[in-house]
């Protein structure tokens, strides 16, 4: 059958599809996870993702994707810190840019020492602002335990704690790391940056950025000064606040570094420039360049040593 390009926009998801006779490409944006930041829109190589700043967050997502421009490359799937995109080919999750090594993956380094967890602790599960952590308690033969109040102390000691984190949706905000009473979680932020609020330009009585921010601990209104405050410890530098801010240059957000798997790709270079800045991108290229030079030199010298 002839090519059908279909776009469906419902309350829960936005999906684009290329239905060909023998293949099916599908891009699904799960609105549950999308926070209307700007990262996909900046990273998209075809500039197919448009953020409409005027729309209110409540029912309508601010994101729209141009069906004519999208080529289902999968870069948005990789780069979204909240894992809101899913690209499938013939129903199977497949991202061609990763298979052909045309784009690196974001590194999400989250380590939990669950064997040392207190058996009744639910700190991480309750603290995760996106509800990505699920604690499941299992006894020694693998069965799930739901009620532990009636257990003896010995029985409780033998309970195995399994912590399941939906890593693909985790933006590495580190709230769980700090809220864990036992210090068992180590999270490495995958995007580093700077965020500044120009208090003179910031209008009073405006809550737009705070409402847009997915991490409540990151942006808040201080009670006494009634001004917006940033806690950079938890900020993921997604940019949702910047999108929501109505005043130009009242909120300044810069991304300086993105942790990713090794990459040599023109598409990544361009995305990096757009997400961070020209100078930050150059820093990364220089670092890569010197790594490559070091590699080449060591290879050459060790080779020569072999000959000698």
């Amino acid at each position: 059958m002839p090519l059908k390009k279909v776009k469906k926009n419902t309350a829960t998801e936005l999906s684009l599809e290329w239905i060909l006779h023998v293949k099916n490409y599908r891009l699904t944006l799960d609105k549950k996870y999308c926070v209307n930041c700007q990262i996909c829109s900046l990273a998209c190589p075809k500039e197919a993702i448009i953020i409409d700043k005027q729309k209110e967050k409540q029912d309508i997502n601010k994101l729209d994707i141009d069906l004519k421009k999208c080529n289902f490359c999968g870069i948005c799937d990789i780069i979204c810190p909240f894992g809101a995109f899913k690209i499938t080919q013939n129903g199977e999750k497949s991202i061609s840019v990763v298979e052909k090594k045309s784009f690196p993956r974001l590194i999400r380094n989250i380590k939990i020492n669950s064997s040392a967890c207190p058996k009744e602790c639910t700190d991480c599960e309750s603290s995760c602002p996106l509800e990505l952590i699920k604690i499941s308690k299992k006894n020694f033969d693998g069965k799930h335990i739901n009620y532990i109040d009636k257990m003896s102390k010995n029985q409780k000691n033998r309970i195995k704690i399994e912590i399941n984190i939906k890593k693909e949706h985790c933006p590495t905000c580190r709230v769980c790391e700090f809220k864990c009473g036992s210090g068992l979680i180590k999270v490495q932020k995958n995007i580093e940056g700077k965020i500044l609020i120009n208090q003179e330009k910031c209008p009073s009585e405006c809550r737009k950025c705070v409402d847009a921010c997915p991490i409540p601990e990151a942006l808040d209104i201080s009670k006494d000064l009634k001004k917006v405050q940033v806690n950079e410890l938890f900020c993921v530098y997604c940019g949702a606040c910047k999108v929501a801010c109505p005043v130009d240059k009242a909120l300044v957000l810069k991304r300086t570094k993105i942790y990713h798997t090794p990459a040599s790709s023109g598409a990544w270079n361009k995305a990096l420039k757009k997400l961070t800045s020209q100078s930050d991108a150059i820093k990364e290229f220089k670092a890569k360049g010197s790594m490559k030079a070091k590699e080449m030199v060591s290879r050459k010298f060790s080779f020569d040593e072999v000959i000698r």
């Binding site: 059958m1 080529n71 052909k100």
Partner: protein, 818 residues
């Protein structure tokens, strides 16, 4: 002009005009009274010899003319026969063979303009024929001898379109020794034939027979393939065309690409492949198909994300360059062959057929790509809905063809390719598949085609003669229910199948209108390019030096396209094999004594000439560049000082024709000025098609409507004409002299408002547009104008004329004094 002495001599010499009246078998003699015409002609002043002939164009008839000129010492010849567009050249040659200058001959069109279009009105038609002869004699009196101009010829050809027809033309011309440029819009030559699996009736693998030809084209030293390029502009005329071509960037360097394909393997991006009818995909850097010629990869920047993995894979070859820019080149050629092919109609706008809605309804071209071993399904015919082979399949013919509401013509090869498809399926799946063909007629006229139809029937394919009215879909199984009439049963039937293949119409290629504008050629009523004569010159465009090959001129199958390709090559060779090409001397000449630019700056003619063929310098009279002048005559009409004249169409000659036309009963006459390429041809077609219209019209021929001077119209009304029409080529782009018709329109719009103010009813002067394919339109136009003339009534017309007469006398008197 060349020899003023001869001119003077001729004007002093006594006119001896010979009139030869043709019977044309019964074509003329069947309606008109030839004897009456002969007697009448004898009475016209300066006519010394009148002869009638059964077939003047045949050898005996031409011998009569030659004899007449010699024996009777004729110095002007008028042949009253068919249209000058038919035989003017024939008789010019006959006249020159007798020693008389060929431009001292004039044609009176009494076949297309009298006998053929007024079959039920022989008396009035004969009266009209008398007028036509008198008009021709009036012009003949003022004709002057002219010498043919010769221009050098570029011995190269340009072929637009690299399909099977174009490639054959290229090979033939190259073998003859001419340099050929083969221009192709797509990335590779080969055309539709390269997309096919097998060809009927031999069931040869299509690319297997075309591939070697494509390689021959690329290897031939005389052929230069310019692929992935667009035609921007063509300037010039036969023997001397200048073509501007833009080579679009592939972002791959032609000379360095080896066609290895490693870049394609490294590329992550896929997009729907147009070559596969968008059934499958291709990479952002890829070939359209594996046997592409030239074998160079192309990057589609619309989809490429610029990850540069291809550059990495290409490595030391360094064949990829993302900074490539479009390149414009200009080439000189002597002849052009148009072989742009056709497109397939996709019936998205036929809702009852379900194309685009139901997943298992496909077109025949898509079926071809499925059954092709190198296609997206590797030769398996599978349904889109579940990927399974269908157990019952229906082929529906004439989808969009032979349809009053879509395309009225028959698409020529669909019956045959459907037979090919069913034979292929039966040979592949034998009893495992049920095949139904729903058809109106099975058209299999070519060599071996009827036997192929027998073969299909012997294989057990069920042929149902009836029109399919709709296709419904079962939402669970996605099967299709074909609702059709079975004319053998005389009842409607329903057949459930698992897949439906539509043999859709083949339509003129997208972009033909743009190409027609660039080349100055017309398209017929069906959108395919119009040939000079459908029977005798199917490969010539009306414009000299442009020829057609293949489906762009009219749908045809592969053997016919190949034949026409060779034919077009031979036609083009008649131009480019010569070292000089003769140009008709119907060009314009400037009277240096009258040109006002000498005293005060003018330059209007320079501005108005569509070809920029006039040059002017300060205080010098303007000059016409002879080789660039195409003879439209627009400058003649635009010059406010009457300083320019057009050879063979001078103001005096046309005025004499007007006076002759309106000599009797002018109030009941419609005077029409028709341009040679469109409206005169349209009027001819009305006659050829035997469309009947009123006899009141008297048509005068000019080369271009731009030639029609305001003064002609004013003179017509001064002489008491009833109605005046100027008919031109269609706006905006059909004028054969680029934009003569626009100049005419501006001029006539101003004149129309002036006439209205002076009291002439607005319907009495009209500007109309008639193309060479619009015979019916011309006939209806004359009917309408005649009705309006009768509605106005002779008295009202006479009254209006009398009122305006003194004004016109003054205006035209001033002109005469100049």
């Amino acid at each position: 002009m060349k020899n003023p002495d001869i001119q003077k001599q001729l004007s002093e010499e006594q006119l001896r005009i010979g009139v030869f009246i043709c019977h044309c078998g019964l074509n003329i003699a069947g309606t008109l009274d030839i004897k009456e015409l002969v007697e009448y002609s004898k009475t016209i002043p300066d006519v010394v010899f009148v002869k009638e002939n059964r077939y003047t164009c045949a050898d005996p008839g031409q011998e009569e003319i030659r004899k007449g000129i010699k024996d009777q010492r004729l110095n002007r010849v008028v042949v009253a026969a068919c249209s000058p567009r038919m035989h003017e050249a024939t008789f010019r040659r006959a006249v020159s063979e007798a020693g008389l200058n060929p431009f001292l001959y004039e044609m009176a069109n009494i076949r297309e303009f009298a006998s053929w279009c007024h079959p039920n009105n022989p008396k009035k038609a004969t009266e009209k024929a008398k007028d036509i002869i008198r008009i021709a004699v009036a012009k003949a009196r003022l004709l002057r001898p002219l010498e043919i101009i010769e221009v050098p010829v570029t011995n190269k050809a340009l072929i637009i379109g690299g399909g099977i027809a174009g490639m054959n033309s290229a090979l033939d011309l190259a073998e003859m020794g001419f340099k050929v440029y083969l221009l192709e819009k797509g990335e590779s030559i080969g055309g539709h034939m390269a997309a096919l699996d097998k060809t009927f009736p031999t069931l040869d693998c299509s690319i297997c027979i075309e591939g070697p030809k494509m390689v021959d084209v690329s290897r031939h030293p005389n052929i230069e393939i310019i692929a992935n390029a667009d035609l921007i502009k063509i300037e010039g005329y036969v023997g001397n065309f200048k073509a501007k071509i833009r080579k679009n960037p592939r972002f791959v360097i032609q000379e360095k690409c080896t066609g290895c394909g490693e870049c394609k393997d490294a590329c992550p991006i896929e997009y729907p492949n147009e070559w596969d009818c968008e059934l499958g995909t291709r990479k952002a850097i890829s070939l359209p198909f594996d046997q592409a010629v030239p074998l160079i990869y192309t990057i589609n920047r619309d989809y490429c994300i610029e990850c540069y993995k291809c550059i990495e894979a290409c490595g030391a070859r360094e064949a990829i360059n993302f900074d490539q820019e479009p390149e414009e080149i200009v080439i000189d050629v002597g002849a052009i062959i148009v072989s742009t092919g056709f497109d397939v109609y996709l019936p998205y706008d036929m809702p009852l057929i379900g194309y685009g809605k139901y997943s298992n309804v496909i077109t025949s071209m898509e079926f071809e790509r499925l059954i092709l071993a190198a296609g997206p399904t590797y030769g398996k015919v599978i349904r889109s809905s579940d990927g399974k082979k269908p157990s019952a399949i229906a082929f529906i013919q004439c989808v969009g063809s032979r349809d009053k509401h879509k395309y009225p013509y028959c698409s020529n090869f669909c019956c045959m390719y459907t037979l090919k498809h069913v034979v292929q399926l039966k040979e592949k799946y034998k009893e495992d598949i049920d095949i139904y063909v729903f058809y109106m007629d099975m058209r299999s006229p070519g060599k071996g085609y009827e036997e192929f139809y027998d073969r299909a029937r012997e294989k057990g394919v069920i042929f149902i003669r009836g029109r399919v009215s709709r296709i419904d879909e079962d939402p669970r199984t996605k099967n299709l229910i074909i609702i059709s009439e079975d004319s053998a049963l005389g009842q409607p039937i329903e057949v459930e199948v698992e897949m439906a293949v539509l043999a859709t119409a083949s339509i003129p290629k997208k972009g033909s209108d743009e190409l027609a504008r660039i080349l100055n050629i017309t398209r017929g009523s069906n959108g395919f390019f119009m040939e000079s004569h459908p029977k005798l010159k199917p490969m010539d465009a009306p414009t000299d030096g442009v020829f057609f090959a293949g489906a762009c001129q009219g749908l045809k199958d592969i053997p016919y396209s190949v034949s026409q390709g060779s034919g077009a090559a031979s036609r083009a060779a008649t131009v480019i094999s010569k070292s000089k090409w003769k140009i008709e001397p119907i060009i314009t000449v400037i009277d240096e004594k009258r040109c006002k630019n000498v005293t005060s700056k003018c330059g209007i003619c320079v501005d108005r000439c569509p070809y920029g063929a006039i040059r002017v310098e300060e205080s010098q009279p303007a000059r016409v560049i002879e080789a660039s002048c195409h003879g439209c005559g627009t400058c003649v009409a635009e010059c406010p000082h009457d300083a320019i004249t057009q050879m063979h169409f001078t103001d005096e000659q046309i005025m004499a024709q007007i006076r002759a036309a309106l000599a009797n009963n002018p109030e009941n006459k419609i005077l029409a000025f028709l341009c040679n390429w469109c409206s005169y041809a349209g009027a001819d077609l009305a006659g050829t098609s035997r469309f009947e219209y009123p006899t009141s019209v008297r048509a005068l021929r000019v080369m271009c409507s731009g030639r029609v001077d305001r003064d002609f119209i004013l003179e017509a009304f001064r002489l008491g004409a009833g109605m005046v029409i100027v008919a031109a080529c269609h706006l905006p782009y059909d004028c054969h002299y680029i934009n003569g018709n626009w100049k005419m329109k501006t001029r006539m719009d101003a004149l129309a408002s002036m006439l209205k103010k002076l009291g002439i009813s607005p319907e009495r002067f009209r500007v109309e547009y008639v193309s060479a394919a619009e015979g019916a339109h011309y006939a209806n136009l004359i009917k309408e104008v005649d009705n309006q003339m009768l509605a106005l009534g002779k008295d009202k017309i006479q009254a209006e004329n009398q009122k305006i007469h003194p004004v016109l006398e003054r205006i035209l008197e001033r002109k005469k004094q100049k």
